[in-house]
């Protein structure tokens, strides 16, 4: 298996890259939704993210990547308490996946051969403390979507089936990508994503040439290419780590709170989730930029990605909601 295309080598698509980085700084942001045409680098960016993320410390062999030995669930049957450094998990959730694979189910292998009742963890367990990536999220079957919603909200996966009763933590950043022309996403799931970005094919020839050049170099001279971009990836990783520290120290001034509230009120965004996410995103953005104070500029810059999918949508309205957000931002936060 080749190492994935380096994150820093992706040409353009700044909004998407920024959104992914913000979730790395503050995982509580609640995920990213990337909508756009085929071949715009959606999956490339997410797969690249895995290599970029700072490693986590986890108990060796723990099925839910627990940080401390006392958090390892009983059913895992682990004897070791050794803590090792591991890559942040980025788990692919394929289309057409069965419910058993997502939540985990009875371990048929052990049931049949040894007559034991054991739990076989699913994708949600593997994604704990990491990322869960769903390509073509809008084509996912409804019952899986319901299940994901439920777990994403509670941060815990509860399995009550086939005589098993198991619960384990499942806190993950949900990253979805899809092509809006192929079907729409249910508003409930839409709202669950913290940030939403729209990507398009680069329009001008120069950018496209640059994309071709880099991809071609990646394919042809893989080792040299990875070496060339390694340092830049490492620089982003350091900034993410620094940003995490910075985030904890960042104060939220009262003006920003009122800015956020005014903006969401003016837009009529549903629920309070919009306000909370916008605030979090602005804070993460300030931390990423290494700014010491949270200002109106930070709110303005992330407003579109935090709010565009939360507007009460008239299904027959053709104008993009991104435009509506920027218009309102101009008016309210002039």
């Amino acid at each position: 298996m080749k190492t994935p295309f380096p994150f820093s080598a992706i040409v353009g698509q700044d909004e998407m890259k920024l959104a992914l980085i913000l979730t790395a700084i503050d995982p509580a942001l609640g995920g990213v939704l990337v909508f756009g045409d085929r071949g715009t680098g959606k999956s490339t960016a997410v797969r690249a993210l895995a290599a970029l993320l700072p490693p986590i410390r986890q108990v060796k062999g723990c099925p839910v990547n627990s940080a401390r030995a006392e958090e390892v669930p009983d059913w895992a049957g682990l004897e070791t308490a050794e803590v090792v450094e591991a890559q942040t998990p980025v788990v692919d959730l394929p289309l057409g996946v069965t419910e058993d694979r997502v939540t985990g189910a009875l371990d048929i292998e052990r049931a049949l051969t040894r007559g034991e009742k054991a739990f076989q963890p699913g994708l949600l367990a593997r994604a704990n403390r990491g990322y869960l990536y769903i390509d073509e999220v809008n084509l996912l079957e409804d019952h899986i979507v319901d299940l994901l919603l439920d777990v994403a909200a509670s941060g815990e996966n509860v399995v009550e089936r086939e005589g098993l009763s198991v619960r384990h933590p499942a806190r993950f950043v949900l990253v979805g990508s899809g092509n809006p022309e192929e079907g729409e996403l249910r508003p409930q799931l839409l709202d669950r994503f913290g940030l939403s970005v729209e990507v398009a094919s680069p329009g001008d020839v120069e950018t496209r040439v640059e994309v071709l050049k880099r991809r071609d170099a990646y394919d042809r001279d893989h080792t040299a290419f990875m070496l060339r971009w390694q340092a830049e990836d490492a620089a982003i990783r350091d900034r993410i780590l620094k940003g995490r520290v910075q985030l904890a120290e960042l104060e939220t001034p009262a003006e920003t709170l009122s800015d956020v509230a005014t903006l969401c009120l003016a837009l009529g965004a549903d629920g309070l989730r919009g306000e909370l996410t916008l605030l979090r995103a602005a804070r993460a953005y300030a931390a990423w930029r290494d700014d010491t104070a949270l200002t109106r500029k930070h709110v303005r810059d992330v407003a579109a990605m935090a709010l565009r999918h939360r507007l009460r949508r008239d299904p027959l309205d053709e104008a993009g909601s991104g435009a509506r957000v920027s218009r309102t931002v101009e008016e309210v936060l002039a």
Partner: protein
């Protein structure tokens, strides 16, 4: 330059190029089974990887490997099985047009993974059925063998591929490949950057195959092979003046790019090479694709019926990834045999379950619904209430959106009917098409019915439950053959109605004329459909009537 006009030669060349550089992803071969396709498939031996055959119903277990349940049960020991994707191989996917999106997504991931798989998708689709877009995009080549007669099969040479492979990375390049491809891609309206990327790789492989430096001729061949099927528009050249606004724009782009930099390869040459291969109906197909959002089936796939819905009694069956075991029923089936089995295998502990004991859960699920609107946009209807009908459809659309139904739009006017929108859940697109729907001309009711029936049958094949909703004032005056003959027109319409009934298509006839029309009543009778006269209704009432009729 090899003769690229013959599709068989093109396919053979594509296979050779894939053998030289597996990074080209694969080949989509659109052809029905027959000697011509076989001749191409016989060339697959030239690919250096082992061949694995896939079919649309290939399960995860087969693809990725896993526990071999049968063997495990039989021997009482864990037996693992290798998956088809575990080592690089040539994946030959038969009946690619039937591949469900889940399989396409998995194969796409496998191709993206860079493990070196080559996909050969055999697309046997008719008309609009085609291989999943996710796969077509990831395969460099696409060859349509339609119309090649078995007697025209050319003799193919067998160039030395091992030597060509060795040359691949050392072939010098004499042109600015990247810029060239980026500009050409834009001119042909190829949005995805995979097209130009494949063209670059293909050009290198061609040069390696021919053992020459990479120059104009190699680029020409590569572009012809990789761009022809991706093109969504043709760049206009000076001598062609069919002034369509879109195409004019693209010509301006051509001129601009020509002026900006003196390239080594004249753009015209490359454009001509590709244009020669662009089949006449390609742009039509592209238009259809654009209309339907290039989705093969997506959200409307058949529900497998073993995961959700109303539970049915368990059945004996085989284990597989798609099936769920009914544990209680399995144990119940195995229980009576335990003493006997313990006698025959005394050293095994625990329950002894054999493959015939396995019981699978089954559920009955209703498939997704598709509402096909056949809208009369003729002059008479336009005068009467086309606007109202549009309004009603919009209200219905919002309801369909809430119910997650699919909708599709057929309009008939003038002499023929046209499918404006293939089944979709995208409301915005439906709305746009509806708004653009012009009115005027005769009423080819029969043609409209035929288009709707075809649409319904196609939807049934994909596992949707179609309902045809006809909105017309019923004054059919254009016959099936396009002639203005009132009498023949009504006979044809009734005939089509019967056909719909014979095919078991659910329908609904909405009379939106000024007065209830007797001929429409008989049409509804022939179709076995409810007839709803709606004299002077507003949009809301039309929609309520449809909702009520659909509710049962």
């Amino acid at each position: 330059m090899p003769d690229l006009a013959c599709p068989v030669r093109r396919a053979a060349l594509a296979i050779d190029l894939l053998a030289i550089d597996p990074g080209l992803g694969g080949l989509v071969l659109r052809a029905r089974q027959g000697p011509v396709r076989q001749a191409v498939l016989d060339r697959l031996y030239r690919l250096p990887l082992p061949h694995r055959r896939l079919h649309p119903q290939t399960t995860d277990e087969t693809l990725f490997g896993g526990l071999d349940v049968e063997a495990t049960l039989g021997t009482g020991r864990v037996t693992q099985r290798d998956g088809l994707l575990s080592s690089p191989s040539t994946l030959v996917l038969g009946m690619a047009e039937r591949a469900p999106p889940a399989l396409a997504a998995r194969l796409a991931t496998a191709l993206d993974g860079g493990a070196g798989h080559i996909l050969v998708a055999l697309d046997e689709g008719i008309d609009e059925e085609s291989c999943a877009a996710a796969l077509c995009d990831r395969a460099a080549f696409h060859v349509d063998l339609d119309g090649v007669s078995p007697s025209d099969l050319p003799d193919l040479e067998d160039p030395d591929l091992t030597a060509a492979r060795a040359r691949l990375s050392a072939t010098p390049v004499t042109v600015d490949l990247h810029r060239q491809m980026a500009e050409l891609g834009e001119m042909f309206g190829i949005e995805s950057l995979r097209g130009p990327l494949f063209a670059i790789r293909a050009a290198r492989a061609v040069a390696a195959l021919q053992d020459v430096p990479l120059g104009t001729e190699q680029v020409e061949i590569a572009v012809a092979l990789t761009f022809a099927h991706r093109a969504t528009r043709l760049p206009e050249t000076q001598d062609q003046q069919e002034a369509e606004p879109e195409e004019q724009e693209s010509r301006e782009e051509t001129d601009a790019s020509d002026g900006r930099n003196g390239q080594e390869i004249p753009q015209e040459l490359l454009i001509e090479a590709t244009r020669a291969l662009v089949t006449p109906d390609l742009l039509d197909r592209a238009r259809i694709k654009a209309m339907r959002g290039a989705t093969g089936s997506g959200s409307g796939a058949v529900r497998k019926g073993n995961r959700r819905g109303r539970p049915l009694p368990s059945r004996p069956g085989q284990l597989g990834s798609g099936a769920r075991v009914d544990l209680v029923a399995t144990l119940r089936a195995a229980a009576p045999w335990q003493p006997l089995r313990r006698l025959s295998a005394p050293d095994r502990t625990g329950l002894q379950i054999r493959p015939p004991d396995i019981r699978l859960r089954r559920y009955e699920d209703r498939s997704d619904r598709l509402i096909i609107f056949a809208v009369d946009a003729s002059g008479s209807a336009a005068l009467a209430r086309l606007g109202e009908a549009k309004g009603a459809i919009e209200i219905l659309l919002s309801q369909a959106y809430a119910r997650r139904d699919h909708v599709s739009l057929v309009a008939f006017r003038g002499s023929d009917a046209e499918t404006l929108l293939a089944p979709t859940r995208s409301l915005v697109r439906t709305k746009r098409h509806l708004a653009d729907l012009p009115g005027g001309g005769g009423t080819p009711l029969a043609a409209g019915l035929r288009a709707a029936i075809e649409e319904a049958l196609a939807a049934k094949r994909r596992g949707l439950a179609p309902t045809v909703c006809i909105l017309t004032d019923g004054r059919a005056n254009v016959a099936l053959d396009g002639t203005a003959n009132r009498r023949q027109a009504s006979t044809d319409a009734i005939e089509m109605g019967r056909l719909a009934m014979l095919n078991g298509i659910e329908a609904l006839v909405l009379d939106c004329g000024v007065r209830p029309e007797q001929s429409l009543k008989s049409l509804a009778q022939a179709m076995g459909a409810p007839y709803l006269p709606l004299p002077r209704a507003n949009a809301e009432r039309v929609s309520n009537a449809v909702s009520a009729a659909l509710r049962d």
